[in-house]
């Protein structure tokens, strides 16, 4: 095949475009399939419990068209996106950081403490809190990274254990006299001292209430995530290690270093998860600080295929479900648990759907390559005959 084939060359861009168009359809097929399936399952569930599912969807969608509903959804998406990004960063390297849950709790606690003790001008104070949270989250996560590299402990086991330890750490520190101020005898809720005024992050005032300025931090995290992954050597090494550790080692990647760094970065992003709530809404870390965001992040990362772009949709979808789901009990007496069922079925369905779509895509690709090769062989044979 020394002589270039002009016909094949001309057809190439068109073909590439067609493939990528098809790839987009394939990529969208799985999540859409999963959502449709879970809506169907939940509708059946609602119907069997004697409720009209369409009324329930109507309540949810109506709330999402209102301005305060939208602000609520966007604010939640901000938190959810950060949680997903934290989990996804590890996943891209085949590193299952299940410990996002513990990392954000510890990080938010320390950030809240620092924010309550220090009062500097905003332009120092806010970066200080961001750095504190990221540092604490990163350090906490790197315990699991170090254990994996030097002791061969599975990061899954280590991070799950560290989640429990994180709860104990918060329990140990979040008591009056240590991280929480002394309280009177009649108060039962314990929280850190309120953040100084200068720690408050900016919010956009909309008709639906304050829209958290942290959304821009979340966007920034997404952009840096994508850039690092696709445009830097580190990102290449990370993806290579994720695909095949031995191949990466053979091509000169220091896998041990990669594990520690990725774990720390994943933890650092996790450190940001608690900050929107902390710096925009509650301004303190209390005993009822929202738990479970780490595990939610794993679901969202899965749904968004660990892609910074896909996770935007996944985060908004989950935020939509959670925000509008809280309307259900008071507007028609629907059980709010239906939202949890829906999120669960979406995650299960999406795993199955991705695998189905992947196999289908693989088959299509094989067929296509086969057809292409056959056409090429036919073309060269024809040439040889004519020559």
């Amino acid at each position: 095949m020394t002589s270039p084939n002009p016909a094949a060359k001309a057809a190439k861009p068109g073909l590439a475009q067609r493939i990528s168009g098809e790839r987009i359809v394939l990529a969208l097929a799985a999540p859409v399939l999963a959502v449709v399936l879970s809506v169907a399952i939940c509708s059946v569930l609602l119907a069997t419990s004697g409720k009209n599912p369409f009324d329930a969807w109507n309540v949810m969608i109506t709330y999402a068209t209102k301005s305060d509903g939208q602000v609520n959804i966007l604010n939640r998406s901000t938190t959810y996106y950060l949680a997903a990004a934290a989990a996804a960063f590890g996943f891209r390297m085949n590193l299952f950081n299940i410990g996002v849950e513990g990392q954000y709790k510890v990080a938010a606690l320390f950030a809240a403490y620092v924010g309550g003790q220090v009062d500097l001008p905003s332009f120092i104070q806010i970066p200080l809190l961001l750095v504190t949270a990221m540092l604490v989250g990163g350090l906490y996560a790197s315990i699991a990274g170090l254990l994996k590299v030097y002791r061969g402990v599975s990061e899954v086991i280590a991070t799950i254990m560290l989640n429990s330890i994180a709860v104990a750490i918060v329990g140990l520190l979040l008591v009056p006299g240590i991280f929480a101020p002394k309280v009177s005898g009649t108060s039962n809720s314990i929280q850190t001292a309120p953040l100084s005024e200068s720690s408050h992050f900016f919010a956009l005032d909309t008709a639906g209430g304050p829209l958290w300025g942290f959304i821009f931090i979340a966007i920034l995290v997404g952009v840096v995530f994508q850039f690092t992954l696709t445009r830097t050597r580190f990102g290449f090494d990370l993806r290579a290690t994720g695909r095949s550790e031995s191949a990466a080692t053979a091509s000169g990647v220091n896998v041990k270093k990669m594990v520690i760094i990725s774990m720390a970065v994943s933890g650092a992003i996790a450190g940001l998860i608690g900050l929107p709530e902390l710096m925009q809404n509650s301004f303190n870390y209390g005993q009822s600080f929202q738990p479970g965001l780490g595990f939610l992040g794993i679901s969202i990362a899965l749904l968004g295929r660990n892609s910074p772009f896909g996770m935007v949709f996944a985060a908004v979808l989950f935020a939509f479900l959670d925000a509008t789901g809280s309307q259900l009990p008071l507007q028609g007496g629907f059980p709010s648990e239906i939202v949890a069922v829906m999120q669960g079925t979406i995650v299960i369905c999406v795993v199955v759907a991705y695998e189905l779509v992947r196999r289908y895509g693989l088959k299509r690709q094989q067929q296509k390559v086969g057809a292409q090769l056959a056409a090429q062989i036919a073309a060269t044979e024809k040439k040889e005959v004519s020559a």
């Binding site: 809720s189 929202q290 949890a340």
Partner: protein, 353 residues
């Protein structure tokens, strides 16, 4: 580089688009607020903590008070409950929904609602809020705290335990090591020591905050009770929500050991009927009385304000007598109760370290 820039642009414009959409859309409360102005009837909204109606304990007690207000005072009521792991925004939304639906009296059950109540009450000064088990020095004036003197009831439980213990060895199991449960421990220990300072008191907490599973893990309660029984305690007081069911089960399995229940009269609860012979008494926290009294005060136009303490004197806490196991020491309990009511005995609210 180009692709990531494009990506950034898309994300940015997308979110800004949504934000501007948010800025111009109608609020979800716009259409409901007009219908909210009711006919002046008593409309009471209640927001429960996790577990809600049917938890056999704290929330159920509040629900009883609400039911009584419904039948005796003709209040129209709506209820909503928290789900575990929810965001702070969910609590605010729940309270706001109740406000928007025209409920002018709203009762939040449990201290987890404090920040949300503060915020929503500030925005709705004409709505009356009550919060059970919590107060905050910054709470707006339209918020009333309904508090209980758990240490006083627990003191009596301690007196009863000390008088009934043959082994001179008793136990305390707390669900979560929170300020609230520490009040139970402090009162109980003080009560025991008032009878006989030489009695040994075992103390076990099932979890520490922010892990609140200690309130709904009967397995943990059972294990802790078994541990205390093995050490020789023969009377165990459990203040741990539904975890207490496990502790009571463990106590019932040991001959001669007795349990002290909490919050509701646990010896008369159907779910615990088979262990009722092992339940000596229960430290009843009359959340229902408090809820009813609050709604009644609103109806009469003289709503409670600030902090309303339901102590022994106000019948906010008491010992249950179902089963008659403490009938023989009633005179001693009465003497102790009178001393508390008259102020002769003061009880610590935090355990002595």
């Amino acid at each position: 580089m180009r692709r990531s820039m494009k990506l950034a642009a898309v994300v940015l414009s997308g979110s800004l688009g949504m934000a501007s959409l948010a800025a111009c859309g109608a609020k979800s409360t716009d259409n409901t607020s007009s219908s909210a102005s009711g006919d002046g009837s008593l409309k009471v909204g209640m927001a429960y903590d996790i577990g809600g109606r049917g938890d056999q304990s704290f929330n159920d007690s509040a629900a009883r008070g609400l039911d009584k207000a419904k039948s005796d005072l003709g209040a129209s009521v709506t209820e909503a409950e928290a789900k575990s792991g929810e965001a702070e925004a969910d609590k605010e939304t729940r309270l706001k929904n109740l406000v928007d639906a025209g409920y002018k009296t709203i009762i939040a059950v449990g201290f987890v609602y404090q920040p949300a109540v503060n915020k929503v009450a500030k925005d709705n000064p004409n709505v009356k809020f009550a919060i059970i088990d919590s107060n905050d020095k910054d709470q707006p004036s339209n918020v009333t705290s309904l508090l209980f003197a758990e240490q006083e009831g627990s003191y009596l439980a301690g007196v009863a335990a000390a008088n009934k213990s043959k082994a001179k060895h008793v136990g305390f199991i707390g669900g979560v090591q929170s300020e609230l449960i520490k009040k139970f421990e402090a009162g109980y220990k003080a009560g025991v020591k008032s009878v006989d300072p030489n009695i040994v008191v075992e103390t076990t907490y099932l979890t520490t905050p922010p892990d609140f599973t200690g309130f709904n893990s009967p397995d943990k309660g059972k294990e802790a009770a078994q541990g205390q029984l093995d050490k020789g305690a023969d009377i165990i007081y459990t203040a741990a929500g539904s975890s207490g069911n496990g502790a009571i089960e463990a106590v019932a399995n040991k001959q001669g050991a007795l349990a002290i229940g909490v919050d509701s009269d646990q010896a008369s609860q159907p779910a615990l009927a088979k262990y009722k012979n092992s339940i000596m008494t229960s430290m009843v926290k009359n959340v229902d009385n408090a809820v009813f009294a609050y709604i009644d005060s609103v109806k009469k136009g003289s709503a409670f304000t600030g902090i309303k303490l339901f102590d022994l004197k106000a019948d906010g806490v008491s010992l249950a007598t179902t089963g008659g196991k403490i009938d023989d020491i009633q005179d001693k309990l009465k003497a102790a109760a009178d001393a508390i009511k008259s102020g002769a005995t003061t009880i610590p609210t935090a355990p002595v370290q």
